[in-house]
């Protein structure tokens, strides 16, 4: 079908996303699967609303992956990376090498030439950064051991693309099919500035560019952002943020590096910048949209003709690819001492082929490494395996983990566990906040029931004899299993704002009798919580900040008891304002005005505190009134 211009296409893509993603989410399938289904639906084989342009849309949408890595970089301090170096090099290196060699062996067995076999192995060893990270992030699994290690391996694969791109042309068995090398998408190695240079020159240029990005990030970008921020034009900042990402993409393309890697490095460099948060909020929507677009185009590009031609073979290949990668990953997880649940998550998440395979296949095709008859079914295999991944992770979460997760030492299945003891408190999340709440309650003879998504936490808690459930506390069945119907209190201690709100939503809807005590991380989240009818909202930084401020005052010689009372007064005002602002949160404009008012108010309050110290407060301990009276009486 002729697309009928840009607007019609945009209309088709957006409608597909808007319709299928909420449905998928509602069904608990997650947004990635939703986008993929949307893509298949509008693709040439179902509705046929998008056709051959799907491929170019995908190349454009891959920009979403670049942005995603930039955002991930922003959240990682360099010290974090350093801490991960073992798992990046060890696990990542082992995964790529072992998978590539095994795949090569299989390809050799089927009679391919060794060059083609090696190229195939390398290309298929890669996994899909976009699908894995988005899926894990959405499920709040990034912080688990399995999530962290998945990330490490993906990072290694991103780095590995550089040498793979360099090696592929050397593995050509036929004449390069075209002289104009596929290089417009930013991934491919052609048409770079440095291809004429000798190897040492290329290496120097590559290292120079990386060093340049790091130095610019440290000394150039921050001051420029400061200037831009001063203009107070929000859209200018957005433009600058986009410009930054795009320039790095171009630059990396020019030296033949993976732009995703480049933006990732830039992100890490900027992780300590004061504009980190601003950058995040500006890039986030673009990333989300483009990534969605990318998933849609993956769905749309699944060639059902190729599949229909030989469905059994294709499905066997998908199964073989997934199984082989799964067992290699599981073995690595085992060697690196991961727990059973984490191995499952890690191996399932990374078992698919990656989006780079599309790029590398077409690159290899152009360079005479592969033949079209080999590549076409393989592209379908990779796309199918990618589409399977969110489904596999979901099945793992819903069916496998509840049955077998953390079961090595436990006989009971978490989801059907009988409550040995009835707890009146359920604590969702066993991080720093949840664990402290729980320990404190435990110390005062209140047993809580815990819900957590990190299998290692669950294991630990179990060993210590706690009543704990593995899984997502926003699920009604899990809350039910944890005894929400009989409990009095639900403590929401998870740090992820979206998750916390989701949990509160479920609890309010299905267990309205539950009193909720929620931890929030910022004003916005607090408003949402209060808006849901949660009355007991605790900003997780407020008390710490006040205690620190109080200690500072005390050390400056202020009376500790006065400070203690002042802290309480301050906190009372702060929390009262939170609730007042929550009431008007729906009207954004009003809210902005109110936030401004609040800041002014706070200023007033603080001034009052300062001036009124000896007048307005603690009058019971103040003699000035008596003095006035006595003076009067005496006269």
């Amino acid at each position: 079908m002729d697309s009928g211009g840009f607007f019609f296409q945009a209309f088709v893509y957006l409608t597909a996303a808007v319709v299928s993603v909420p449905v998928a989410k509602k069904l608990g399938l997650g947004s990635v699967l939703g986008y993929l289904i949307a893509g298949i639906t509008i693709g040439p084989f179902v509705l046929g609303l998008v056709g051959s342009e799907g491929q170019s849309v995908m190349q454009f949408a891959e920009f979403g992956i670049i942005m995603m890595l930039f955002l991930i970089g922003l959240e990682l301090q360099p010290s974090m990376i350093w801490k991960l170096k073992g798992s990046i090099l060890g696990m990542g290196g082992a995964q790529v090498t072992a998978t590539a060699l095994l795949l090569m062996a299989i390809a050799l067995f089927f009679g391919l030439q060794w060059q083609t076999a090696l190229a195939l192995g390398l290309v298929l060893a890669l996994s899909s950064t976009a699908i894995v990270l988005q899926t894990l992030h959405e499920k709040g699994l990034m912080q688990t051991d399995g999530g962290q290690n998945s990330f490490s391996v993906l990072l290694f694969q991103d780095i590995a693309i550089i040498p793979i791109l360099a090696i592929l042309p050397l593995l050509a068995t036929a004449q390069a099919s075209s002289s104009s090398i596929h290089g417009d998408d930013g991934h491919a190695g052609g048409s770079t500035w440095i291809e004429e240079l000798p190897l040492w020159g290329q290496t120097t240029a590559v290292l120079g560019v990386v060093a340049g990005i790091i130095l610019a990030g440290k000394y150039l970008i921050n001051p420029s952002f400061r200037l831009i921020a001063k203009t107070r034009l929000r859209e200018l900042f957005t433009a600058a943020a986009l410009l930054l990402v795009i320039s790095i993409t171009i630059l990396m393309g020019k030296v033949g590096l993976s732009p995703a890697l480049g933006t990732f490095i830039a992100g890490v460099v900027l992780a300590q910048s004061e504009y980190r948060h601003e950058l995040e909020t500006n890039i986030e929507p673009f990333k989300g949209l483009l990534l969605g677009l990318f998933f849609i185009s993956v769905g749309a590009s699944i060639d059902f003709d190729v599949i229909a031609a030989n469905p059994a073979l294709i499905l066997q290949m998908v199964a073989a690819l997934l199984l082989l990668k799964f067992f290699v990953l599981a073995g690595i997880g085992r060697i690196f001492g991961m727990s059973f649940d984490n191995i499952l998550l890690f191996a399932l998440a990374l078992a698919e082929g990656g989006e780079f395979a599309f790029v590398l296949f077409s690159f290899g095709l152009n360079n005479g490494v592969f033949e079209a008859s080999l590549v076409n079914p393989l592209i379908a295999v990779v796309a199918l395996s990618m589409a399977m991944t969110p489904l596999l992770v979901l099945l793992n979460e819903k069916l496998v983990q509840p049955r077998f997760g953390t079961m090595e030492k436990e006989k009971k299945s978490p989801d059907t566990i009988d409550l040995d003891r009835k707890s009146s408190v359920i604590i969702a999340g066993f991080g720093m906040v949840g664990s402290t709440v729980g320990r404190f309650m435990q110390a005062n003879d209140e047993e809580a029931t815990y819900l957590d998504t990190d299998p290692d936490n669950v294991d630990l808690l179990r060993k210590m004899g706690f009543q704990v459930f593995y899984g997502d506390a926003s699920r009604t069945d899990l809350l039910q299993a944890a005894g929400a119907a009989e409990a009095e209190l639900l403590v929401i201690a998870v740090g992820n704002a979206a998750k916390a709100l989701e949990i509160a939503g479920t609890a309010r809807k299905y267990f309205p009798h539950l009193e909720i005590i929620a931890r929030t991380s910022d004003w916005e989240e607090s408003y949402e919580m209060i808006g849901m009818g949660v009355k007991n909202v605790y900003l997780d930084t407020l008390d710490v900040a006040l205690r620190m401020g109080g200690d500072a005052l005390g050390r400056l010689g202020h009376r500790r008891y006065h400070v203690s009372r002042a802290m309480k007064t301050f906190r009372r005002y702060e929390e009262r304002h939170l609730h007042e602002l929550a009431e008007i949160r729906h009207d954004k404009k009003e809210l902005m005005r109110a936030t401004k008012l609040r800041i002014e108010d706070l200023e007033q309050l603080m001034l009052k505190e300062k001036e009124g110290l000896h007048k307005d407060k603690d009058l019971g301990w103040d003699a000035s009134g008596h003095i006035a009276d006595d003076g009067h009486m005496r006269s």
Partner: protein, 206 residues
Amino acid sequence: MRQFLKEVVLRKILILFAHPALEKSRVNVRLIEGVEAITGITFHDLYERYPEMDIDVKAEQNLLKEHDIVVFQYPFFLFGIPALLKEWMDLVLVHGWAFGRNGNALKGKWICHVVTTGGSKASYSKGGYNRFTMKELLAPLEQAAHLCGMRYLPPFVIHGTNVMRPDVIKEHVGQYRKMLKLLADQTFDPVGLCSQENLNDQFRRR
């Protein structure tokens, strides 16, 4: 050697100071100036030590054991002791330790209240607007001391702090210091003071 002897003959004094708003104080703040530096005196600022009222009972009891004389020092707000001092009494002076069959940790120790009041001395009398004498108003505290087997000294009261000229404050500070010095002196027997209405007059006369 002389130094050694001198230390031996000193009674150890624990001042339990309770002022919820010292930043507003005009008299107590002068009284306590430099007190902690005096040998043999432990100055214990309760509101500064326990701003959250989380009294460490064991530590407080140990502190009491180490001293011979306990001074409760506080401003008199609405005829009572500050909340933290009352809480301190309730938690530290417990049955089985301070009183009761085996509670004799404080037996024989001296206790003295140092109180500041806004109202004049005349107001604290039968005919005055406060209707009761200080001795009467402090009766529950006297009884608490009695229960613990402590020897109760008359209070050292500074009246009229609402309107007090600096030179008068200075005079009171002097008397307060003299009192502390005398009580610390082991050769002096405080029994003679017990029949007095208050300790101030005693020192005014001296």
